[in-house]
C-alpha cells in the first residue's frame, strides 16, 4: 500500500474514528438551552429599519412657498443618517398608492438623543400632486408611514475633499441645509454624536429666481452664524432686479470666483441646471471624481428626456402585471413611467429615487417593449441584457407584461 505516513499506520488509519468521536463529543457537551440571539442583525435592523410610523410635530414656513415638516418616530428610534440622504414616504392619496423620496433637511445630530426628529422641506410654487397633498392634508398630529435613510449622496471623507462647494437650485437646497446645520453643531460641540463634518468647509452657491424663492434661508443663516469660518453662502438670482448680490445663472465665472483648489462639488437641483453645472465643471477641468450629484428625478415633461420616442406621446397601452400568480391588467400611458401606472392603479411598487438609479423598483419585462430613459440608467449590465428594468424610469412603447415583487 502506497501513501503518506503521518504518525504511523495505526494512528493514521483510525483518524476517521477520532474525528467522528470528537464531533459527537462536542455536541454532547453543548448546552441545550435555546437562547441564541443575533446582535449583528439587531444592529443591521437599527441602521436599515423597515417602514415606520411617524407623527408630524411641527410645520413651519421655510419660504413664502415652502414648508418644513418635522417628524417624530412612534417607536422612538430614527436610524443614523448622513447629510444628503433621503426619507421615502409611503402614501395613499385619493385612489393612488404612491411612494415619494424627500431629502432630509434637518441635521443627523437632531435624530439622536431624547427627542429624536427629522425634517423635510417641500416647496409648492405651482400645483403638484404630492406637494399639494402635504400642504393640504399634513398638519401637526398627522401620521405618515416612511422609511429612512437611503442614497449614496453624502460627504465621504475617504473620497471627497473637505472643501465642499454645494451647488443648489430651488428646493435642491435641502441636503445642504442639513449639512450646514450639522457642521455648525459639530464644530461647536465636542460631545456631538458624529464628528464627520467637524472640519469641513462648505460654500453654498444657491440659484433662485427671486430672493423670495430662497428655501430654508433662515435655517442656513442661523447655521452660518454659528460657524462663520466654515460656512459661506452665496445667493444667485436669475430674475430679481432688487437683488444686490450675484445675478444671472450659476455660470462658470461665478463658480470659479468662489472655488478654492481641489474642492468636491455637490449638486442638487433640476435637470437644466445639472446640465449647465456639469458643463461648467468640465470646462473648469475639475476631475470627475470631484463631482457628486443627487439623483435627478425623471422630468415630468418627457420631451426633456433625450431620445424619447415622440410619436408615443398621448398613447395608452395595456399593462399586465404579475405578482406571484396574481395577474392584473391596467392601463399605462406611454408618456408616464411604468411605476406611475402602477401607482394610479393602487398596485404597490417600491420606488425610491425615481431617477432610474437606485434599483429598488427593479422589475422583470416578460413581454412587450419599453423605452428606458438614459438619464440616470442605473441598471446592471446583465439586467439590461436579460430584460430587467427600473419601473420609475421606463416607459411602455407597446402592451406589456411585467413581473414585480409582491408588496
Amino acid at each position: 500500500m502506497s501513501g503518506i505516513k503521518v504518525k504511523g499506520f495505526f494512528q493514521d488509519v483510525t483518524g476517521v474514528n477520532r474525528i467522528v468521536k470528537a464531533r459527537e463529543e462536542s455536541f454532547k457537551e453543548a448546552s441545550s438551552v435555546n437562547s441564541q440571539t443575533d446582535p449583528v442583525r439587531a444592529l443591521a435592523d437599527a441602521i436599515h429599519p423597515d417602514r415606520q410610523v411617524f407623527t408630524v410635530t411641527k410645520v413651519y414656513e421655510a419660504s413664502p412657498t415652502a414648508r418644513t415638516f418635522r417628524f417624530e418616530p412612534e417607536n422612538g428610534h430614527i436610524a443614523p443618517f448622513q447629510c444628503g440622504q433621503y426619507v421615502n414616504f409611503y402614501l395613499t392619496i385619493g385612489s393612488s398608492k404612491v411612494t415619494r423620496a424627500y431629502s432630509i433637511s434637518s441635521a443627523p445630530y437632531q435624530a439622536r438623543g431624547e427627542k429624536p426628529f427629522f425634517e423635510i422641506t417641500i416647496r409648492r410654487n405651482r400645483p403638484y400632486f404630492v406637494p399639494d397633498w402635504f400642504f393640504e392634508s399634513v398638519k401637526e398630529g398627522s401620521k405618515v408611514t416612511a422609511a429612512l435613510p437611503f442614497s449614496q449622496f453624502y460627504y465621504e471623507p475617504l473620497r471627497d475633499s473637505d472643501h465642499i462647494m454645494a451647488l443648489a437650485g430651488g428646493s435642491g437646497i435641502t441636503p445642504f441645509a442639513s449639512m450646514a446645520k450639522e457642521i455648525a453643531y459639530e464644530s461647536t460641540h465636542d460631545d456631538a454624536p458624529y464628528q464627520t463634518l467637524k472640519n469641513v468647509d462648505l460654500t453654498i452657491l444657491y440659484g433662485s429666481v427671486k430672493h423670495t424663492d430662497i428655501v430654508c434661508g433662515d435655517q442656513i443663516e442661523e447655521a452660518r452664524k454659528q460657524a462663520p469660518d466654515q460656512i459661506h453662502v452665496v445667493h444667485v438670482m436669475s430674475d430679481d432686479p432688487e437683488w444686490e448680490g450675484e445675478k444671472g445663472f450659476v455660470t462658470r465665472e461665478i463658480m470659479e470666483k468662489y472655488s478654492t483648489p481641489d474642492m468636491t462639488y455637490f449638486f442638487c437641483g433640476p435637470l437644466p441646471m445639472f446640465n449647465m453645472v456639469k458643463k461648467n465643471l468640465t470646462e473648469m477641468g475639475v476631475p470627475e471624481k470631484r463631482f457628486r450629484h443627487d439623483a435627478i428625478a425623471q422630468p415630468s415633461n418627457v420631451k426633456m428626456i433625450p431620445g424619447f420616442p415622440e410619436d408615443q406621446v398621448g398613447k395608452t397601452y395595456q399593462l399586465t402585471v404579475m405578482r406571484g400568480i396574481q395577474k392584473d391588467v391596467i392601463p399605462a400611458k406611454a408618456d408616464e413611467p411604468v411605476a406611475v401606472a402602477l401607482e394610479r392603479a393602487a398596485i404597490p411598487v417600491d420606488t425610491h429615487c425615481r431617477a432610474g438609479e437606485c434599483g429598488f423598483c427593479r422589475s422583470q419585462l416578460l413581454k412587450g417593449s419599453i423605452f428606458v430613459s438614459p438619464l440616470g440608467d442605473g441598471r446592471r449590465e446583465m439586467d439590461k441584457e436579460m430584460g430587467w428594468f427600473h419601473a420609475c424610469s421606463s416607459y411602455p412603447t407597446s402592451d406589456l407584461t411585467i413581473k414585480i415583487p409582491i408588496i
Partner: protein, 510 residues
Amino acid sequence: MAFYKDHYQVIIIGGGLAGMACALQLQAKGVSDILILEKHNLPGGLATSYVRNGVEMEATLHEMMSIGPKEDRLKVGQFFDEMGVDIDWLRVPEAYRFVETEKGIDITLHSGFKKMAHEIEKKYPGWGRKVYDFMNLCNRVYDSMNYLSTHQMGKLKMLKEHPDFVRTLGYTAQQVLDTYHFPEDVQDILKAYWIYVGNPTDTLPFTIFAFLLADYFRGGSYVARGFSHEMSMKMERKVEEQGAQFEFCQEVTKILVKDGRVYGVRTKRGDEIHCDYVVSGAYPNRVYSQMIEPASEVPEGAIKVINAKKLSVCPVSVMMVLDGTPEELGIHDYNIFSTNNMHMDELWANSKTLGPYHYLTSICLNLANPDCCPQGLTQFSITALPLVNAFEGVKEEDYFALKRQLAREMIGTYEKTTGIVIHDKIREIEVETPVTVSHYVGAWKGSIYGYAHDMQDHVVARLQTADSERFIRGLQFAGAHGISGDGMGPQITNGRAAAKGILDSLKEEK
C-alpha cells in the same frame, strides 16, 4: 387576491447560489413544483453586484472554484454545463502573490502544480520537487473527497482505494505540512489561502486545506464576465424557465412544523404557504432559535448542535473604483495576500479585534476581466476576514465612523506593504461588514463562511453523521452552513446535497 398556490411540493428559503442549485438539481430529477422566496430584490445572495455613479461593482470576493477549462470541467463547471446554465467564464490569471514583510517574502504563484512548484524552486532551490509531491497529495485527497461525497463505501475498501485520504483524515493541515519539513518561508507561502477557509492551520482539517489548494492550483479560478450577477441571473432564469415560482422581497420568518414534520412557511408580509419540504438558506441558528413554529417542535438535539458549532469568519471588504488603469496605478497582480507576519496565533488573535487587520487580500478585477470598468478606471477591493465577535458590541451611532476607520487602516496597510498608492485615487468606495451581509442576505451574524472547519467539526465527520442531524422531517439546509462549508463553489455542492436529501425522502416515502 392570491399571490401563491395553496400548496407546493418544495419551498426554498433564499434564492442564493445554494437555493438555486438545489432547485436546478430537483428539477433535473423531475421535481418541479417549487417556490423560491428571496428576501432581497436580487437573486444570488452575495453573488451579485451594484451600481455606483454608472459603474457596476462586484459585491463578492468573486472567484468561482471547481469550474475548470471547457475541456476539463471540474464538478461545479460540469453541473452548470449539464443544467444548461451558460456562463461566460473568464480564467483568473494567477493564483496569488504572497507578500510577508517580516521575513521579506514576495512571490507570485500560478495555477498548475508543476508551474507553481517550479516558481517555488526558483526562489527556494531544492524544494520544488517536494512541493510538487505535496500538491499531488492534496490532489489525491481532492479526488477522493469529490468521489466519496457522493458514494458510499466500506472502510476497508476506502483504505485500499483512497489511502491518502483516509490516512490524513485525523490530522490538521499543520500536522501534515510538518511531515514535509519545508523551510518556514515555503510553508508560509503554501499557507496563504488559509484565511479562505477561515481557520488557522493548527486546527484546520488537512482534508479541507488539501481540497482548497488542489482546487485553486489544479483548475485555477474563474469569474463571470457579467460579474457574479451573471451567474445568479442565469441560474434564476433557468430555474424559472423550468417552472419554479421565484419571488423577491419575501423574507420567511417562520417554518411551520407539526408532529416533527414541516408543513409550510410564513413570510414577513403574513402569507402562510404550505408545502411538503422546506429547504432553508437561513442558518440552523436562526431556524432553531427563532423560526420554528411552534418552538416546542425544536428538538433538544438541534439546540445542542447550534450551541456546539462555531461560526467561521466574516468579511470586512473595502470596495473601490479607482481613477487610472491598473498599469497607471502600478497594480500588476490580480490577487495579493499580504501580511506583516505569518504567526498563526497572532493573526488569529488579530482577527478577533476591530482592527487594524494584518492579513489582507486584495483583488484587482480588471486583471481577470478587463471590461469590468469603463476605460481608465480600476475595480479594486481589499478584504480582511475577521471573526464576528468584535462587531457584536458596535453601537449604531458609531457604525459609519467605524467603517471609515477600518477602510482607512486597510488602505494604509495595503499601501505600506505593496508600495502602491491608491488613497488619493478613490472615485467610488463602499465598505462591506458583517452588518451589510446581515442586512442584505440575513445570514446569521453576517457570517458568509458558515461554520468553522475545525477538528471538532470535520467535514468528513459531518458527512458521516449527516443523517442523525435531520431533526425535523422535511427540513433541509442549503447554504454556507451546509456540509461543504463556505465559498461560492461549495454552495452549488451544498444545494445539490439538500436536493439529494429531498429526493431520498421522496423515494423512502414511496
